[in-house]
């Protein structure tokens, strides 16, 4: 497969995952604010910004407005970028995949205008999350599960791991209280919000019942091996995709394999107490490893220098 094609497939899927995550996060916070804003806005928004990956606080008079605009442009922009990547490899993806991305693009432009989004923000949230689920199903059921599909998997899961690790970090910095300190009602709602941002609330209840405890939430979102929006699950799938790519191309990279191994090992073998004692550091390690895996993937398969290829 051409390196450029692999690059397009990887980013098509990453951008779509990013759009889905941002949309869901936005939906949850808008929902929380509608009933009664339990937490003062000047504390909520920096946290939302941080979990959306903005390093600097956003400028503007009304933080609600600014955040909403930021999220909107990130959602619509990610969808446009996903479509642009798909458009360049149309002959490589199934026509069903193309049609779904193309449809979402036009739909997001229609309902993502500032006025419509302000009055009916949930339309966009629903359209994006549903379409992202469809996209996953369509790629799985209509594409050859060959190299191209593996790059789509790699893109989806590296993005998911990064987003969830960042979200948990921002949330725990604000709300984590160790031990048996009781949780008040407003905190309770925030923890439910975190789980909902990862579509995890119902699944959490099935595993632990509806009793919310921060340690259990951390364990579930970070370490659960069976829940598709946990960091561990994502890391496992990422490692599998990388292995399949290595086998398919017969280009083995020790470094890349070791990096993926370290990521899954950290999630499989680190005791929960150690993680919760410094969750920020743990999240940072996960994100750093993902960054290194991304760079490794590029060095081995996509943007390798021509001279280096002769040495292999």
């Amino acid at each position: 497969m051409l390196s450029r094609v692999a690059d397009n497939l990887y980013w098509m899927s990453r951008y779509l995952e990013r759009a889905e995550h941002t949309a869901r996060l936005m939906g949850v916070h808008l929902n929380l604010m509608l009933e009664h804003d339990l937490q003062p806005a000047d504390r909520r928004w920096p946290r939302v910004w941080a979990s959306l990956g903005s390093k600097e606080p956003l400028e503007g008079d009304d933080p609600f407005d600014v955040t909403q605009q930021h999220a909107l442009s990130q959602i619509v922009g990610s969808i446009a970028a996903a479509r642009e990547n798909a458009r360049q490899v149309r002959e490589q993806i199934s026509s069903e995949v193309w049609e779904e991305i193309n449809r979402l693009f036009h739909e997001s432009r229609r309902i993502g205008t500032a006025e419509l989004f302000r009055s009916q923000p949930f339309d966009l949230v629903v359209a994006v999350t549903q379409s992202a689920h469809l996209f996953t199903g369509i790629t799985d059921s209509t594409m050859l599960h060959g190299e191209g599909w593996q790059f789509i998997q790699a893109g989806r899961f590296i993005e998911r791991v990064l987003q969830i690790a960042r979200l948990i970090d921002a949330h725990f910095a604000e709300f984590f209280k160790s031990g048996a300190e009781p949780m008040n009602a407003s905190e309770h709602i925030e923890w439910i919000g975190l789980l909902r941002s990862c579509t995890a609330f119902e699944a959490y209840c099935k595993v632990y019942t509806a009793e919310l405890r921060p340690e259990r939430v951390a364990e579930f979102l970070l370490l659960n091996a069976e829940f598709p929006h946990s960091v561990r699950f994502g890391a496992d799938r990422l490692e599998r995709a990388l292995e399949a790519v290595q086998q398919g191309t017969a280009r083995k990279s020790d470094r890349l394999g070791k990096l993926a191994g370290r990521l899954t090992a950290a999630l499989s073998y680190t005791p929960l107490e150690e993680i919760t004692s410094d969750l920020h550091e743990f999240s940072a390690t996960i994100r750093r490893l993902c960054g290194q895996i991304h760079n490794g993937l590029y060095q081995v398969y996509i943007s390798y220098p021509v001279e280096a290829a002769f040495a292999v």
């Binding site: 497969m1 390196s3 149309r90 191309t249 280009r251 398969y301 996509i302 001279e307 292999v312």
Partner: protein, 488 residues
């Protein structure tokens, strides 16, 4: 406009907007009398209820839309994708009409290829005065870099699309050759697929020659021109990218042939060998079916501002390590001024008379011919020699005085850049427009492949000027296409 058909005689309103005049009509011999090979279609048009016709037209349109058969119009909003306009009714050519076309095109392509080999080699025809040196050297598509370079099997023009028109007397003549990167063949192939679903009853009885083997023949042709010593060549199609007007066609042909569709940034040259960058490492490339113009293939050899090409590609080509199809510099032979010399070129290289005639052409670079044209600008079609796609043209009889003055100034400033041809009444074929059948002007572009042998799939792309009265068939100027049937 001449009087329309007497519909009472026809017994049908379908043809109420149809008319005949001195232009050759593809369907009708005389009023309401169809030519024998159009009889079945004519009958069907009379029989089918209007609703059914509309239904079939809609089915065809939807099929094009869903397949994403589009082209991009430049100069409008950035990258405007449009569905290629398509007319429902086929253009039909008999076996007897096709035979001289096939023979004539083969002769013409062989001669033009010999000519290219000669001007980039011995220059015999220049020394013998068959073609004036200045016409060749002043052509903007002449590539001095190609001098003394041997191309595999001496084949310069691997893929050709030649535009033919039919005059009032029914004879086909050559309007122009496209020897650089001719496009449109994907519309020929996809429209046939659609038509089979729309008119199965006609296909069953008419005896239409198939064209589906085009992609296979193209692949075999490209394989034939691979560098020596590469028995299993890696063939790729080089596209300028998604914003190019013909990107659909590039992706379509690559998929049909099962070869990689590459962009310049996918290729790299190392030690004069071209590689493509794959996830499994670098893979050597042997033949490049390039859909990128000469100027852009290599920023080191040609335009340095090109980002579409591959640095070092020309040196790899010179070294014989990779084949470019078509070869570079072939545009000199489809220059509109050189066109006037093609009959002499055929006579010189093959010692044969041309089977297909040229359109009478006046060269503005020649003083007497220029004066003749400038005095009669309102009677001629003036064309810039290096342009294509219907751009840079003056349609004399339909022009305004201001446009004529503008062209007069342009011709006087740069006479070599212009030629003039008489306004031709080229043939019309029936089209299904808005519930009626009306005649529109058509041309014909057959595609010729030159590898181990010459292959011309029967038919080609019939382009139609869908606007009433228009003579311009280019898709960028409001033209459309028709499926073309050559009968057994």
């Amino acid at each position: 406009m001449p009087p329309a058909f007497d519909t009472s005689q026809l017994g049908h309103a379908r043809f109420q907007n149809y008319w005949l005049d001195q232009a050759y009509d593809e369907m009708f011999e005389s009023e309401a009398v169809p030519r024998p090979h159009y009889a079945a279609l004519h009958e069907l048009l009379l029989e089918l209820p209007l609703a059914e016709m509309r239904h079939r037209k809609q089915a065809a349109d939807i099929s094009f839309l869903h397949q994403g058969i589009t082209f991009t119009v430049y100069g409008r909003e950035e990258g405007t994708e449009r569905i290629f306009p398509h007319d429902l009714l086929p253009r039909i050519i008999t076996s007897a009409e096709w035979e001289p076309i096939e023979r004539g095109l083969t002769q013409r392509i062989v001669a033009l290829n010999l000519f290219l080999r000669d001007i980039y080699g011995d220059e015999r025809c220049l020394r013998d005065g068959v073609v004036p040196r200045e016409i060749v050297y002043s052509c903007k598509h002449f590539r001095r870099q190609m001098r003394e370079l041997t191309v595999p099997k001496n084949i310069y023009i691997t893929v050709v699309g030649t535009d033919l028109i039919r005059l009032s007397d029914g004879s086909f003549v050559v309007l122009e050759d496209n020897l650089r990167v001719p496009s449109g063949v994907s519309y020929m192939l996809t429209s046939r697929q659609v038509m089979k679903r729309i008119f199965p009853e006609l296909f069953r009885t008419a005896g239409i020659r198939p064209i589906d083997h085009y992609s296979e023949a193209l692949l075999a042709t490209l394989r034939a021109v691979a560098p020596d010593g590469r028995p299993d060549p890696n063939i790729v199609l080089l596209t300028p990218g998604v914003y190019n007007s013909a990107y659909f066609e590039h992706a379509f042909l690559a998929r049909q042939m099962g070869i990689e569709l590459v962009e310049g940034r996918d290729l790299a040259v190392h030690d004069n060998i071209v590689y493509m960058r794959t996830t499994a490492g670098l893979r050597r490339v042997d033949v490049i079916y390039r859909r990128v113009d000469d100027d852009y293939v290599d920023p080191l050899a040609f335009r340095s501002d090109s980002t579409l090409g591959v640095a070092g590609l020309f040196n790899a080509y010179r070294s014989g390590n990779v084949t470019l199809a078509n070869a570079l510099g072939t545009g000199v032979a489809d220059d509109k001024a050189l066109y006037a010399y093609v009959p002499k070129i055929i006579k010189y290289f093959l010692n044969e008379d041309p089977v297909l005639a040229n359109v009478e052409t006046f060269l503005c670079s020649d003083r007497l011919q220029r004066e003749h044209v400038l005095e009669r600008l309102d009677q001629y079609v003036v064309k810039a020699v290096g342009e294509s796609g219907g751009y840079g043209m003056l349609m004399g009889p339909y022009s305004t005085a201001a446009e004529r003055e503008e062209f007069r100034a342009r011709i006087q400033a740069d006479p070599r850049n212009y030629i003039a041809q008489p306004t031709l009444e080229f043939s019309r074929a029936p089209c299904f427009l808005d519930g009626h059948v009306e005649p529109r002007h058509v041309d014909l572009r057959p595609y010729i492949l030159y590898g181990d042998k010459i292959t011309i799939v029967p038919g080609g792309l019939t382009r139609v000027a869908l606007k009433r009265g228009s003579l311009v068939v280019n898709s960028s100027q409001g033209g459309g296409s028709k499926d073309t049937w050559v009968l057994y």
